[in-house]
């Protein structure tokens, strides 16, 4: 598998570490249910998902990849922090 790092370009997946579904962290007072959703419950679709990868052996950016879990096709990859690559 090769991931299109928005900074480094396409790289072998062995340079990356996976974190899983990209979700927004709830506010501390968002309540038990929101936190349960964030930490544990997943749609886990057989299809496109957005997920976090860490380019640990490259630029050390966290990136957000849109990847199809059924085919491994990758349709998008952006910096997890949004804009501002350097």
């Amino acid at each position: 598998m090769r991931l299109p790092c928005p900074i480094c370009g396409p790289r072998d997946s062995r340079e990356f570490i996976y974190r899983g579904t990209a979700l927004d962290r709830p506010a501390p007072d968002a309540g038990t249910e929101a936190w349960e959703e964030y930490l544990h419950l997943r749609d886990n679709p057989a299809g496109p998902i957005r997920e976090f990868w860490y380019h640990h052996a490259g630029c050390t950016a966290w990136i957000e990849v849109t990847r199809n879990t059924a085919t491994h096709e990758i349709s998008d990859a952006v910096l997890a922090g949004g804009e501002g690559a350097a």
Partner: protein, 969 residues
């Protein structure tokens, strides 16, 4: 035997080799298979289950029968396909799966008992008595099973791996592949052309036909040479592309049978586009006793003749359902080999003036145990026999669709071709061309290859050159279906695994009607060829048995690798110390010189203890080193701890966010202990963090978690707290850092630094000059004694270590290792990964109050889940033996006195133990249910692995100097 004026071997040179001890000769250009056939060796192996005599079936990588062991001793490589082994001087080859010899094999009795050994027989018996499975049945089955043997010695093979990149990967150097590479090469694309053989041309290497007015093999060779001369084309012979993976990644195995250097290289190829030109594999026909030595595929008989100048028999018979196989008879007759007849199942088969064609004929039996003697065939006129020592069979050709299945695509059936072809878009970016795409005539293959390359170039945004297609044969031949000849007896499908038509029918009868069920029940297609020779035929038999058409019966799938790959090749670099990087401290050489046994700490090596003259046991050294620290001064290299430099206006806020405690309130020049949680509320790591400046902190992590913490900080700052302006970078490697601990530590350092340290309180830090070098000093303690850590740029580490040790030894101290370090910290109840084992919470560790109520931090919300703060949880305590037995054991469990030893009564476990030379007895840290409420209680420590039971008192985990006065002194 060799035939005159045929083949492209070097007859002038001879190569000697042995097979089962007998000496033979062959020539450069031979494979082991061609050389054996040239020497008239027919029987080369025994089948898996029935131990039937077997000869060479094919001339390629799908060979299921001719598996041999090549080499001796630790170099012996089992299950090598004789058809793929290049002949080399002194090659020592032995047959397999027979005892005592290939000619006389005791287990050939299995063949006699075949009627009792049909599909799945083992699922139905061997169940009584129960204990007999492991003791009797299974050992017998295991001994009988398997083909070749591993030597049992460490594999001495030198192997390597590598990465390649290209615009276009062309897989296979037959007509389609060569043409594709030529077009792409001339377009200036970056091309890799890989072929599994050692001569280019694929199927052309064994055929008599012309391309561009020259012999096809000569065209292939000259085209290959032309490509090889292009700087933008990498031609790789002896290279099997083994698997197709995501985003254009391929695995490929390159072999280097000759010369020095590694023998195999496993390549990972990243290709923007690829052309699959893997050709096609000829299939057999199932009929009674179709497995005898001397029965071969028609294409193989032709290849042995045309490429290697070997006649596979004295009187050859051809049995086929297609035109293509007639070329075998044609070529044999032209070479002067006798052709007994061509038996063609079709009533409209073409006739030939050169050999007899018997139309509408089907072979229904054969004779000859160790080599074929005769065949019996059936026509409308009845059954007749022919004396023949070689039967060339062809049931048609299966496109080599294998790689197109590696990403889950299923091939599609084409009734006109009687074959499966790749589904469109099977592998993103991969374009099948030529025979693997169901295009069989040579001219069409050339055109298909060129067209595939043009498609790839267009997709890559490159311009295709004008390339003329060379003239070539345009006849693809006709075929009519014939899968299995009906009749009694056993007709083989999977030759190696001994799966017959009857087995497939029985499987269907027992309702194993799904292809996958049939395959798994009969083991069809699970041999070393992975069904390349037999799957389609078996599918046709299953379709027939279940009254379904082939496409609705299904397809089997193919998975990587395309052909077998040694573990040594894919695992190259894993041997010995190469398995993972080694990390050495700057004090390593000095430490090893002192005789310290080193242990692995993550990737690092650290000293366990430093033996002194006269000491006979590690405990003596450990006790001595503990006393250095408690009574004088000890020195230890602590450079392995992770160190992260954190700078920027957002530094304090980042630390507040990742630690449970507050760090924004830490004063400059001071150090604070921090506890870091995962978002799930469990403790992830701990360490001290120093504030070096207003916007500048230095965090330390445990040795093992340094990388994980760095990633965690990056996640926090890049994803969760993008509002913060903060930079982080590891400085673990920049600084060599040494702990100097003990009542005399200040004396040592003042002497070393030539300055007073009176103004440095506990948990302070700051810059110092160390012999003129800019260093850092931290007053922190992991021993409970007055302690310091002194850091200098790593290039001075070795030098500083030597200086520290010399000074320590001059004042009755010295170096201490991990054992002493562990004792010192257990005596103080300090934690390591034994306690921070990933399942513990701040609450469990008695640090619940360290989670600041004033702010959010990672893990705070989930740490408050009821289950994570329940008083019934096992919590940190100290243990002190109070009975006759004084032994404590890490990993032992805890029970109330008098309670039965059962899971319900299990109350906790011991994490760390040591003998405390300071206290004069063993001490331990443990997690005990409601531990903090049970101080002074008695508890039973039980280790059932060594049958040790120790009565303990539950005590505070801080065994020594509970008010911490010594560290602050």
């Amino acid at each position: 035997m060799r035939v005159k004026d045929r083949g492209r071997i070097d007859r002038e040179s001879r190569i000697a080799f042995t097979f089962d001890g007998a000496r033979y000769e062959g020539h450069p250009g031979d494979t082991l298979a061609s050389a054996l056939l040239a020497n008239d060796v027919r029987m080369v192996g025994r089948s898996f289950k029935y131990h039937r005599p077997r000869g060479i079936l094919t001339a390629g990588s799908a060979e299921p029968n001719a598996l041999v062991t090549v080499g001796r001793g630790a170099e012996a490589s089992p299950n090598e396909r004789a058809t793929m082994v290049e002949l080399a001087e002194g090659l020592a080859v032995t047959s397999q799966n027979r005892w005592p010899s290939l000619g006389f094999d005791v287990l050939s009795v299995n063949d006699m008992a075949a009627r009792f050994l049909g599909s799945g027989f083992y699922y139905k018996t061997f169940m009584w008595p129960r204990s007999f499975w492991e003791k009797v049945y299974e050992p017998a089955i295991r001994r009988a099973a398997g083909l070749g043997a591993l030597s049992g010695q460490h594999d001495p093979a030198d192997t390597e791996k590598g990465f390649l990149f290209c615009d276009l990967l062309v897989i296979g150097a037959g007509p389609a592949g060569l043409m594709a590479a030529l077009v792409a090469g001339e377009a200036g694309a970056d091309v890799i052309l890989a072929d599994e053989g050692f001569a280019p041309g694929g199927q052309l290497t064994g055929e008599v036909e012309d391309i561009a007015g020259q012999p096809a093999h000569a065209w292939a060779e000259s085209t290959w040479a032309k490509l090889n001369a292009m700087p933008n084309v990498r031609c790789m012979s002896r290279t099997t592309v083994t698997g197709a993976y995501d985003q254009g990644t391929f695995g490929a195995l390159e072999r280097f049978p000759e010369g020095r250097g590694p023998r195999e290289c496993f390549w990972r190829i990243a290709a923007k586009r690829s052309v699959l030109a893997a050709g096609a594999l000829e299939r057999a026909i199932a009929f009674r006793n179709n497995d005898r030595p001397g029965i071969m595929t028609a294409g193989a008989v032709r290849a042995y003749l045309n490429r290697w100048g070997v006649s596979s028999g004295r009187a050859v018979t051809v049995f086929a359902n297609n035109d293509d196989a007639h070329r075998t008879a044609r070529d044999l007759v032209a070479a002067g080999v006798s052709v007994a007849a061509v038996l063609d199942s079709r009533h409209d088969a073409p006739k030939s003036p050169d050999f007899e064609v018997i139309r509408g004929a089907q072979v229904c039996n054969t004779a000859g145990r160790k080599r074929l003697e005769s065949v019996t065939y059936r026509t409308s006129k009845g059954e007749q026999s022919l004396m023949t020592d070689c039967l060339a069979i062809s049931g048609g050709w299966n496109p080599a669709v294998h790689l197109t299945c590696h990403m889950n695509s299923r091939p599609v059936w084409r009734d006109d071709l009687l074959a499966f072809v790749p589904a469109p878009g099977a592998v993103p970016g991969l374009i099948p061309a030529g025979a693997c795409n169901g295009v069989f005539a040579t001219a069409a293959c050339l055109a298909d290859g060129a067209s595939a390359a043009k498609t790839a170039l267009r997709e890559l945004g490159m311009t295709s050159p004008d390339v003329d297609l060379p003239d070539a044969g345009a006849d693809a031949g006709r075929i009519s279906p014939l899968w299995a000849v009906p009749g009694k007896g056993r007709s083989w499908l999977d030759f190696q695994n001994d799966v017959t038509v009857k087995d497939v029918k029985q499987a269907a009868q027992e309702n194993f009607q799904s292809v996958e069920h049939m395959k798994r029940y009969t083991t069809q297609g699970m041999a070393t060829d992975q069904g390349k020779m037999s799957n389609v035929t078996a599918l046709a038999v299953l379709a027939d048995a279940t009254g379904r058409a082939i496409p609705e019966t299904g397809t089997t799938t193919f998975r990587p690798p395309f052909s077998p790959v040694s573990i040594a090749a894919m695992g190259a670099g894993g041997r010995g110390q190469s398995f993972a990087p080694q990390r050495f401290m700057t004090s390593h050489a000095a430490t090893v010189e002192r005789g310290a046994p080193m242990i692995e700490a993550g990737l690092w090596y650290r000293p366990t203890y430093f033996p002194a003259p006269g000491e006979t046991h590690w405990r003596q050294a450990c006790d001595r080193e503990v006393r250095y620290v408690r009574n004088a001064v000890g020195v230890a290299d602590v450079s392995t701890l992770g160190k992260i430099d954190i700078q920027g206006p957002g530094a304090a806020a980042l630390l507040d966010f990742v630690y449970t405690g507050l760090f924004s309130s830490l004063k400059e020049g001071r150090v604070r202990y921090g506890l870091m949680l995962r978002e799930d509320g469990h403790v992830m790591d701990d360490g001290t963090t120093a504030r070096l400046g207003e916007n500048h902190y230095l965090m330390t992590t445990t040795t093992a978690a340094a990388g994980e913490v760095m990633r965690h900080l990056d996640f926090a700052k890049q994803v969760l707290r993008r509002d913060l302006d903060v930079a982080t970078i590891s400085v673990t490697e920049q600084w060599a850092q040494f702990a100097v601990a003990g009542p005399k530590s200040r004396d040592l350092l003042e002497d070393l630094l030539g300055t007073s340290l009176g103004g440095w309180p506990f948990m302070s830090c700051g810059p110092v000059k160390v012999g003129g070098v800019d260093g850092r000093l931290f007053r922190i303690s992991f021993s409970g004694e007055q302690g310091w850590e002194i850091a200098v740029p790593a290039r001075f580490g070795a030098s500083l270590f030597d200086a520290l040790v010399a000074k320590a030894e001059a004042i009755d101290g010295g170096m201490y290792g991990m054992e002493a370090l562990n004792v010192l910290r257990i005596e103080k109840g300090f934690l390591t990964h034994a306690e921070l084992h990933g399942r513990t919470t701040a609450f469990d560790l008695g640090m619940g109050r360290m989670i600041s109520a004033k702010k959010d931090c990672i893990g705070k919300v989930m740490a408050a889940r009821p289950g994570l703060v329940a008083n019934s949880r096992a919590q940190l305590v100290g243990l002190k033996p109070v009975g006759e037995v004084q032994q404590l054991v890490s990993g032992a469990h805890l029970f109330r006195e008098g309670a039965r030893i059962s899971p319900e009564n299990d109350q906790g476990y011991v994490t760390s133990v040591c003998y405390s030379p300071t206290l004069g007895h063993m001490i331990g840290l443990a997690f005990l249910e409601r531990g903090p409420d049970r101080m002074g209680d008695r508890i039973r420590m039980v280790d059932r692995t060594k049958d040790i039971e120790t009565l303990c008192e539950v005590v505070s985990p801080v065994f020594f100097d509970p008010d911490g006065g010594r560290a602050r002194a």
